[in-house]
């Protein structure tokens, strides 16, 4: 077995570059250019005014989860445990019960997601046969002062609306 060797041309070996001084001046021009641009007109800042200004995120962004509903408001989830089975961080905890609304035989009575354990990989969304769990809320910042409040349950997951239109979601973002 021979090792493949590729010779890469080394840059920055010219005389002017070796002097450094010219390069330092070039760099400082950029820095000072930004400085005076910001000093003269604050609104032309190159940074985003987060958190006052939220970033625009793609519908494909894997944000906080939600549980979708049928038109009549009942939960789409049938408690098949596929998301829990597929979850690599074991952050989904479901308890199933009987369902009598004719849509299925089974529904979740408890559906907890530990957001601190979640790694936002989206495997739960991929595993779901009912399109019942989605990560399209557009919530990218999950913060809290207490650990307990980050274990979210069925109600909270069902309450959260989707952050994007159905068309955009299925298009997967432009």
């Amino acid at each position: 077995m021979s090792i493949k060797v590729r010779v890469v041309e080394r840059k920055g070996r010219t005389f002017l570059e070796q002097l450094y001084l010219v390069e330092v001046v070039k760099g400082m021009t950029v820095t000072l250019g930004h400085f005076f641009r910001n000093l003269l007109d604050n609104s032309r800042l190159y940074v985003r005014h987060y958190p006052e200004v939220k970033p625009e995120i793609s519908p494909r962004w894997r944000g906080r989860h939600r549980l979708t509903r049928h038109e009549d408001g009942s939960v789409k989830c049938v408690a098949c445990f596929m998301c829990q089975t597929n979850c690599p961080s074991n952050c989904i905890m479901i308890e199933a019960g009987e369902r009598f609304d004719g849509r299925s035989e089974k529904m979740p009575v408890k559906f907890d997601i530990d957001l601190l354990e979640c790694i936002y990989c989206g495997y739960c969304v991929e595993a779901c046969p009912m399109d019942a769990i989605r990560m399209d809320t557009g919530i990218f910042s999950v913060t809290s002062n207490s650990r307990e409040s980050l274990l979210i349950g069925l109600e909270q997951l069902m309450e959260t609306p989707g952050g994007f239109s159905e068309v955009d979601y299925h298009k997967g973002g432009g």
């Binding site: 408690a79 098949c80 596929m82 089975t85 074991n90 035989e105």
Partner: protein, 520 residues
Amino acid sequence: MAEMVKLFVNGQEVEVESGKNLIDALKVVGIEIPHFCYHPALGADGNCRMCLVGIEDGRPPIVPACKTPVQAGMKVLLDAEHIKKIQHDVLEFELINHPIDCPVCDQAGECSLQDYYMKYSLDDSRMRVDQVAKAKRMDFGCGVVHDQERCVLCARCVRFTRQITKTGELGIVNRTDAARVTIFPGRPLNNRYALNIVDLCPVGAMTSQDFRFRQRVWFLKKDASICHGCSRGCNIYIDHHREKYKDDIIYRFRPRTNLLVNGYFICDAGRLSYKEENENRQVTSLIEGRQAPFDETIAAIRQKLDQARKPLILISPDCSLEQMWAVRRVSTLYGASLSGFSDAYVKAGDGDDFLINDDKAANRRGLELLGIKTDRKSFIEALQKTDLFVNFNNDLHFSGVDEEIDALLGTVQSIAVCSHQRDVFKTASIILPIASYSEYGGTIINQDYVLQAFAKAVVKNEAGKDMLEVTRLLGGAVIDARHAWPGIRKSVACLADVDPAAIPAEGIKLQTGEDANVGA
């Protein structure tokens, strides 16, 4: 050993036991023939056609494996194209009206139809007409829930009620795609083995009301154990699971095949006795009603035993042999009298001629072989004389309050070493929690003198100590279950040659003579 015969499977020579059919014989050597309706306990019915195999140069050339006994020199074809086509077509036929609701079906993960589909078919449905709708969620009684749409009409359930329980509650009515399993109007399942139907059903048509939707089967950890519900000692699987942030709990018991003891089934009472292992457990040590650390409680018990003039130790007939031996050693250490009195565990007339026994004690034969007295007279005499009563998990109130004994118990100080919170332990001044049988390993002897070993299955978050460990802390010489055996071997003649590590899965039938019952 049965006679062995040589035959060929797909051209390869295998040696199997004679006298069996192809399914059973080849299963032993690891060759699986797909089947729905055949079950070793129910015999061959031959209705599902899934087990059809080819016989090279045979007349007829295609036979159902469940009805074909092995013969020397037979050339069985399993992977020939025409056999594969049969399996594929039978599956397609079974799936025509199957709802394919695996995500909400409890059987998913242990379903023959699902497994065979993945192995032999993997095709999309070609049906373009509506599926036949049948009844779902039918209550068949005895906690059995039936889904007619999932049924493959193998008739295992029907044959079970006819051949095994001989109650015949189930039948198949109508023909072709209108055929369905049902009960007779107003006559639900009514026998004490009905939940075995749920295990027998190869698909999800029969589900248990008790286990329904509680857990997906692939999460469950399946450990072999022995039911302690009666003196039969049926072999079971303990299916348990620790959910995140929760405790390890048992979800169900399932029968484990042991032809020497219980065959293929267990009774419903034993199956549902898993609840006892989850609920009502004693978890804290108490001294005079005050919560105390475990070590302090042990020290208090030692002190009481040291001070007592004539202590009396009562041991539960559910304990393992090793535990009994260890408690016996402790009783001699403290000069205590020892009793295994447990008349309350006998429920006369409750047993039947199949699996259920009158005697609800799991290891009464162990008490007998170790020479521990179990009669009422000697227990009451000892109770009258004693000044300290130590109860090792014996539920004297198993069949209700015994007033004579309760009156005597009221006069002495008592200590309870117990796994569950029960009325009889409430009066004890010191209560020490211990592990129950799903949480320790040991050996027990059933009523027919079959010695069986079982291992620890469940590990609780706050695990109770094994009774053996408690006796060691009380000063006993037995360190663990293995160290009990030299003593047991010496004192019980019929156990003299037993190596506890080498007890086979089906147990050992002990040879007991008259003199074997006398303890050393």
